[in-house]
């Protein structure tokens, strides 16, 4: 395994298989929390935090607990519980460490449990069989890198989208298309642009 694996993992999960625009994961916060650039960035930071930790923990849980016990079929329920408790834990830790950080991130962290990007990336890391391809622990590194790239991609799209929406506020949009419809169409056009990146790396 060479270092390029990690570059490819970041590049492909950030841009080519962008969680929001290509995989439709985390569309709810994408539409819900993207009205202001500040909140979009806050959400992205919180997502990155939880996503990377969740990828790490869920991967280990799957291969060190579920697989030896041969109960892979409880994957969904155990992952979502892990993520829910992780969110609680992260919330508490942030609250303890920094009041300021908690003030800016706290609201978003609570929303993350129902962000399907977190569960989606955790499940996908398993279905893509990184452990089979690279071995257990190198696979863990690739899985975490993928999650990091996905979170970067989420942040990038959130930021870009929120700036577009701020501009849209002042634009003369027909009444029927104001708000969500025009945002979705904007997202569609962004997705078209991202689709052009397909095929750069395999």
């Amino acid at each position: 395994m060479s270092w390029t694996v990690f570059f490819v993992a970041i590049f492909s999960s950030m841009l080519i298989n962008n969680v929001v625009l290509m995989k439709f994961l985390g569309v709810c916060p994408f539409l819900g929390v993207s009205k202001k650039t500040g909140s979009a960035l806050g959400m992205s930071a919180a997502v990155m935090f939880v996503m990377v930790i969740a990828a790490f923990v869920s991967y280990l849980l799957y291969y060190l607990v579920l697989v030896p016990l041969e109960i892979e079929f409880v994957q969904t329920i155990s992952f979502i519980l892990i993520i829910a408790s992780l969110v609680q834990l992260v919330e508490m830790i942030i609250k303890k460490i920094s009041k300021k950080l908690y003030k800016s991130l706290g609201v978003y962290i609570a929303l993350i449990t129902t962000n399907c990007a977190i569960l989606g990336i955790a499940v996908e890391n398993i279905t893509r069989d990184f452990a089979g391809q690279y071995g257990l622990f190198p696979g863990l590194a690739v899985a975490v890198t993928t999650a990091f790239g996905a979170a970067l991609g989420f942040g990038l799209v959130m930021f870009a989208f929120s700036t577009i929406r701020e501009r849209l506020e002042g634009a003369n949009v027909p009444e029927a298309w104001k708000g969500v419809p025009v945002s979705l169409i904007t997202a569609g056009i962004m997705a078209l642009a991202f689709a052009g990146l397909g095929g750069i790396v395999g």
């Binding site: 079929f73 409880v74 329920i77 395999g202």
Partner: protein, 437 residues
């Protein structure tokens, strides 16, 4: 106290919910486990089952993993009552443009039933081109004697789709060697009777003489054991392929591809040559009786003359040089050399006259585009008679055949570079070695 009771209640509720949900999930899992396994297995095997009418899903015993080959898996396909219908091979290939998974199905006679590209990350348009234009041509061919001549007839797509097809071809050839173990395989049998340690063989040079093809016969470690020559002879209206083998010093022997439709006379005729097996090929003449035997002897004599006149170089892109005679006078030299071109390795025939002057060249084998290849032959024709072709002359030739040549700099094309590499090696070899004699 009430607080504790409350906590106990929370714990109890959580425990009960957990237990019930665990039971429900486990129950469903147990009930559906067998069916899910079956589904998953069938999904993997679907592509095999599609190829063979009436086939049933193979047992684990019928699926054999294969190591050290581009073929990864061989599956014996059976019908409902256990009769073997044929064999399927799953092979994987890789080029710089991505990976490819190919399934090759053959029936009991070794005839290709179907070739499918199951999965690919290579350039989609090339893969599609291979699917549309190449794969249909493979169906119904015998796997032990594949004919790939059609590749040069597929216009436009040949160079670019060629790399993808190269993967497919490699997988078919590897499948052929695996199938050779249990299929009746007259070709492998023939090679084994001449060179017992043979594991594989590959085309080296093609000819348009009494002998059509020169092959390298290789052992397990890819070492060349011998050189084999195929001769297609007309015996009583049938085309019969004889194969003669040589090593560096000796005529090893001659045999025949004993396909079902080959007349017994044609097969028996090779025994007339038994006395010449394993003898020094220099000055060897074949003195035999009978019509068929004489036909073979004529071709074999032509081949033997070629082998006598050929000097191995095996260095500096050149494989060997054949001295051309008219009677006893040397009239020129033909060099065989190979060099990496744009899309494939180009094998070239370079002709020099007896003074070492350049006469011209042709492509013996090439996967490069004809758009590059043909103009280069004509353009290098301008240097006929020269005993030396300089780098700048070669660059001028490349530029002339390249319509998009940038001004003022050389436009080194892969095809042009490979051509010049072989030609200059031949000219150098003459001036360094042959000219001194």
């Amino acid at each position: 106290m009430a607080n504790l009771l409350e906590k106990m209640k929370v714990a109890a509720v959580l425990l009960i919910i957990g237990a019930v949900s665990g039971l429900a999930i486990f129950g469903t899992h147990t009930l559906t486990e067998e069916r899910r396994e079956e589904n998953r297995r069938m999904a993997q095997l679907a592509i095999y089952l599609e190829m063979f009418d009436g086939a049933v899903a193979p047992d684990d015993d019928d699926i054999v993993a294969i190591a050290d080959s581009s073929v990864k898996e061989m599956v014996t396909m059976r019908d409902g009552s256990g009769n073997i219908l044929g064999y399927a091979f799953r092979g994987e290939g890789r080029i710089s443009h991505g990976d490819i998974t190919v399934i090759v199905g053959i029936d009991l006679d070794g005839t290709i039933v179907d070739v499918k590209i199951a999965d690919s990350t290579q350039t989609p348009s090339y893969v599609q081109s291979v699917r549309d234009h190449y794969l249909p041509k493979l169906i119904d061919q015998p796997i032990v004697a594949m004919n790939y001549d059609f590749t040069s007839e597929i216009a436009g797509t040949s160079a670019s789709a060629g790399m993808t097809f190269g993967n497919v071809r490699r997988i078919i050839e590897d499948a052929r060697f695996i199938a050779g173990d249990f299929l009746s395989d007259p070709i492998m049998d023939a090679y084994e009777s001449l060179v017992p340690d043979v594991v594989s063989f590959e085309t080296f040079v093609v000819f348009d003489r009494a002998f059509k093809e020169e092959l390298l016969v290789k052992d397990d470690d890819e070492n060349t054991l011998a050189y084999a020559y195929l001769m297609d002879l007309d015996i009583d209206g049938e085309t019969v392929t004889y194969v003669a083998a040589y090593d560096e010093t000796e005529f090893i022997g001659i045999t025949v591809f004993a396909f079902d439709d080959v007349p017994q006379d044609a097969i028996d005729a090779v025994w007339a040559f038994e006395g010449y097996w394993n003898s020094d090929f220099n000055g060897l003449t074949f003195d035999v009786d009978g019509e068929i035997e004489n036909t073979i002897a004529a071709a074999l004599t032509e081949l033997n003359t070629f082998v006598e006149n050929r000097t191995w170089i095996n260095a500096n892109t050149l494989d060997y040089v054949e001295t051309l005679y008219d009677g006893d006078t040397v009239t020129g030299y033909m060099f065989i050399g190979r060099s990496q071109g744009l899309m494939s390795i180009n094998v070239l025939e370079v002709y020099l006259d007896e003074t070492g002057a350049f006469q011209g060249f042709t492509y013996n084998q090439s996967g490069d585009s004809l758009n590059w290849r043909t103009p280069l032959i004509e353009r290098f024709g301008a240097y006929e008679g020269q005993t030396e072709i300089s780098q700048s002359e070669a660059e001028a030739a490349w530029d002339d055949v390249n319509p998009n040549a940038p001004d003022g700099e050389t436009s080194a094309t892969g095809t042009g570079q490979s051509v010049y590499a072989v030609i200059s090696a031949a000219l150098d070899y003459y001036s360094d070695t042959l000219g001194d004699e």
